[in-house]
């Protein structure tokens, strides 16, 4: 029966955490390498050998403290960031029985903290009498806030959504991570004394002039807020969603989701895979994913692909969406696709996909989900008169992360391509340090 609203109860987290005996054994496998390459391979530059050494002597608190110095969100990142492609990939233990399971160990510490009666709170230094406003409370904004507070700044954070967290709260399916874990770690930031204003669009509510009067600096960590849709023929009517919309509604418990029986998802990133896997988990198995190139070109985490594969994802490679066809009731009936051929460009490593004439075919469909990335929310950019790059991101001085307005800093995916949450966190921390340096110079 098409288009029957489905009541979705939300997912239970499926990620498990090692028991202490397992964790100690795993920690015992680490060589505690000199100048360990695992650290360099994790964008947050966490002292992995250091925290593992502390775990081995059962100093879990000290180990957690060390992790939190570089990554305030270990419970989240160790669940959803591709450690297997970063630090674990670089682990020198790899050749003897596989890499040390660093994500698992970090998660044990995060859980240890979450279950502790006396959770870890860093010491806050004396105030340096500077106030920084941050717009956006995703991973970059939050980690910048932590670093600023730990350097003696006061931080006020603006978030347009109802709750803080950005991608943390919106973009990750609950079977990978429970809301409780996210909430715990996001609240940890607020506990440091960061003021949070939610449900507010910073630019509209406070103007730049008054901001400059009240704050010493402004950091934009607004991400790429607006999901893209392909301007194909027929894309203005019918059940057309974006991947993020679906993920977001799947996070809300007891939400009624109107989804059809024949779902076509366009795009080959992590979000498309997550949406597909989530729908498959709900028992909706007539989902087809269209991707314009091949598997090896998909910008996805190995673990997420594996999961979607296990769930039985159907992917049409080298395929693009050409047209969406609806009937008179504005109900989608089918989509027209076209096959691509892949050509290697002479001057670069890149492979370009070119449509093959006459290779069109149709697929039955009643719902189309676009998951082809996001773009910058232009409103703020225009309001603040910010320069942007060709890529459509905010232009900053890479040395200082300042925009063309030296009062305004920007960081995270609104500035550059960010692949993982750990990257986003590292950028936030790094930019916060730059801001402090600049404020102290003044």
């Amino acid at each position: 029966m098409p288009n029957m609203p489905k009541v979705i109860k939300g997912f239970d987290e499926e990620t498990t955490t090692l028991s202490y005996p397992e964790a100690l054994e795993e920690a015992g496998r680490c060589y505690l390498c000199y100048n360990a390459p695992c650290r360099e391979a994790l964008p947050a530059k966490t002292d992995i050998a250091g925290f593992i050494a502390r775990m081995r002597s059962r100093n879990f608190r000290g180990a957690l403290r060390l992790v939190k110095e570089t990554n305030f969100f270990p419970g989240i990142t160790s669940r959803v960031s591709p450690y297997d492609q970063q630090c674990e990939e670089a682990c020198l233990r790899k050749i003897y029985g596989g890499p040390v399971r660093i994500a698992e160990l970090e998660r044990v510490l995060a859980e240890y903290d979450r279950n502790s009666k006396n959770p870890y709170l860093p010491e806050i230094p004396e105030s340096i009498d500077k106030t920084v406003a941050i717009v956006g409370s995703g991973p970059t904004g939050l980690s910048a806030a932590v670093e600023l507070v730990l350097n003696g700044c006061k931080v006020i954070m603006y978030e347009s959504a109802r709750i803080a967290g950005g991608v943390f709260t919106k973009g990750i399916p609950s079977y990978l991570i429970s809301d409780e874990v996210i909430e715990y770690e996001v609240n940890g930031v607020l506990e440091l004394g960061v003021d949070l204003v939610t449900g507010i669009n910073a630019g509209e509510s406070i103007n730049l002039v008054s901001m400059k009067r009240s704050f010493d600096a402004l950091l934009l960590a607004i991400g790429m807020g607006v999901p893209r849709k392909l301007p194909v023929q027929g894309s203005e009517k019918g059940d057309i969603f974006t991947g993020l919309e679906i993920l977001e509604s799947l996070k809300l418990k007891e939400k009624r989701l109107r989804l059809g029986e024949n779902i076509v998802i366009v795009g080959g990133g992590n979000v498309s895979l997550d949406v597909t896997a989530a729908l498959l988990k709900l028992g909706i198995d007539t989902v087809t994913l269209l991707y314009r190139r091949d598997r090896e070109h998909m910008p996805v985490f190995k673990s997420r692909y594996r999961l979607a594969e296990e769930m039985g994802v159907k992917i049409k490679f080298r395929t693009v969406l050409k047209e969406i066809i609806s009937n008179d009731q504005r109900t989608i009936t089918e989509v027209v696709c076209q096959k691509n051929e892949l050509k290697e460009k002479d001057d670069s490593q890149q492979v370009v996909a070119e449509p093959i004439e006459g290779s069109e075919f149709t697929l039955p469909a009643d719902t189309v989900i676009f998951s082809i990335g996001q773009e910058l929310d232009r409103d703020l950019v225009e309001m603040f008169d910010l320069e942007t790059t060709e890529e459509g991101r905010i232009k900053v001085d890479p040395e200082t992360n300042q925009t063309n307005d030296s009062f305004i800093f920007a960081a995270g995916s609104c500035v550059e391509r960010i692949d993982t949450l750990v990257d986003a966190i590292a950028r936030g921390q790094d930019t916060a340090r730059k801001i402090v340096r600049k404020l102290l110079e003044e």
């Binding site: 100690l24 054994e25 060589y31």
Partner: protein, 407 residues
């Protein structure tokens, strides 16, 4: 290749050199029978004494003083050492006699060693006589106890050579033709003198033991040391796997001093490699206590297989041929060769590039390992002094070694 694990020790034929010492803590001859059934070469019964009223050991008495045992862990590794406060209370001569008879009847080919203690001429004479008459293959008299039953007389018999000599003569006399082992702490000084004196007094063998007193650890939550017996603790006997090096050291010293007495050793053997090492250092008979508590009676299979497979691989026909083989290589420090030149070497095939060797050599100040950007360690043979700490620390088994270098 057929190898022989059996050996003749002071005229007694042992099917193998592995002997269970005084397990279980409370007397039940069936448990001891099960040990012989499982294939241990012999058993030592708990010490018999004429005076057992003071310390009759019962399960109820033990339970009132629990816990008795505490393991020592290192990081994720459990029980690298084991401590216990189990009192070794003597049993009555009657109980010992009946156990000897039962066991010898059922296991004529296994060795039953009767333990005993004494504090007077009468006791040494009588107990040894009765144990020998009951059919014990050997008698082991324990000199590690105090002379006298009153709590304030604390002279350990083994610390008084004259007393030991006297006692040995009585035991010898009482035991008649039954071979006598004297149990003395391995840490005693003046080993040559002791060996001479006790040999003269009629002893056949020494059982060296090393059971240092220690504290397995402290509970960091409530500050009470382990084991916590109703809120209090006391010194434990430490007798787990960690003591092997000390036992080897003791054997090395006694082995060199001793040409005339058989040597048995108690403690330190936790796998077949330990066994081979202790035998190479001069022990003929290996006694097990903590290891049997920890691993159970079947543990003997591992030991038997380990030692006999080692022997076949080395093409050595009998375990007897190993006894004391390492002693000639053991000298005092001032007699070490002065012209030994070695340098560290790395097996590149299995190196993980972890850099630990580099870190260590830098820390020692020799700067003999170069560590490239590609994380490849290279030994600078000119700078390497060959001290071997990097070899000890390399986390990959057999990856580093020391090689002789020519000048």
């Amino acid at each position: 290749m057929e190898v022989n694990l059996g050996l003749n020790f002071c005229g007694v034929n042992f099917p193998n050199p592995f002997v269970v010492s005084k397990v279980p803590p409370v007397g039940d001859v069936e448990i001891i029978a099960a040990q012989l059934e499982a294939g241990w070469g012999g058993v030592i019964l708990r010490n018999a004494s004429l005076n057992t009223a003071a310390g009759k050991q019962t399960i109820t008495a033990l339970r009132g003083k629990a816990p008795l045992y505490r393991g020592v862990d290192y990081e994720e590794k459990r029980i690298i050492d084991l401590g216990w406060i189990e009192p070794q209370a003597p049993i009555s001569v009657e109980e010992a006699e009946s156990s000897i008879r039962t066991l010898k009847e059922r296991f004529p080919d296994s060795v039953v060693i009767a333990g005993m203690v004494g504090t007077s001429r009468e006791e040494w004479l009588k107990v040894s006589r009765r144990l020998s008459q009951a059919g014990a293959d050997m008698i082991e008299c324990d000199f590690s106890i105090s002379n006298g039953n009153s709590a304030d007389v604390k002279t350990v018999i083994a610390h008084d050579l004259k007393l030991m000599e006297k006692a040995s003569r009585y035991v010898r006399e009482g035991a008649r033709s039954t071979p006598v082992i004297l149990k003395v702490p391995g840490t005693l000084p003046e080993r040559e003198m002791i060996v001479e004196t006790l040999k003269e007094a009629g002893a056949n063998a020494l059982n060296l033991f090393y059971e240092p007193k220690g504290v397995p650890g402290i509970n960091l939550t409530n500050f009470i040391p382990f084991p916590n017996v109703g809120g209090k603790s006391t010194l434990s006997i430490m007798g787990g796997a960690a003591i092997k090096p000390y036992v080897l050291g003791i054997l090395a010293e006694w082995g060199i001093a001793n040409k005339r007495l058989g040597l048995s050793v108690l403690g330190g053997a936790y796998n077949w490699r330990d066994c081979v090492e202790l035998i190479l250092m001069g022990a003929s008979i290996l006694q097990f206590h903590g290891a049997v508590l920890q691993r159970g009676v079947r543990f003997v299979d591992e030991l038997k297989s380990g030692v006999s497979d080692y022997l076949s691989e080395k093409m050595i026909s009998s375990v007897e041929k190993l006894v004391g083989k390492s002693l000639p290589y053991f000298v005092t420090e001032e007699n070490l060769p002065r012209s030994s030149l070695v340098a560290a070497a790395i097996d590149e095939e299995i190196c993980t590039h972890c850099g630990i060797c580099y870190q260590i050599c830098e820390g020692l100040g020799y700067h003999a390992i170069n560590f490239s950007d590609q994380r490849k360690p290279m030994i600078d043979k000119k700078k390497c002094v060959g001290d071997g700490l990097c070899v000890a620390a390399c986390p990959v088994f057999n990856c580093m070694s020391l090689r002789r270098v020519s000048r």
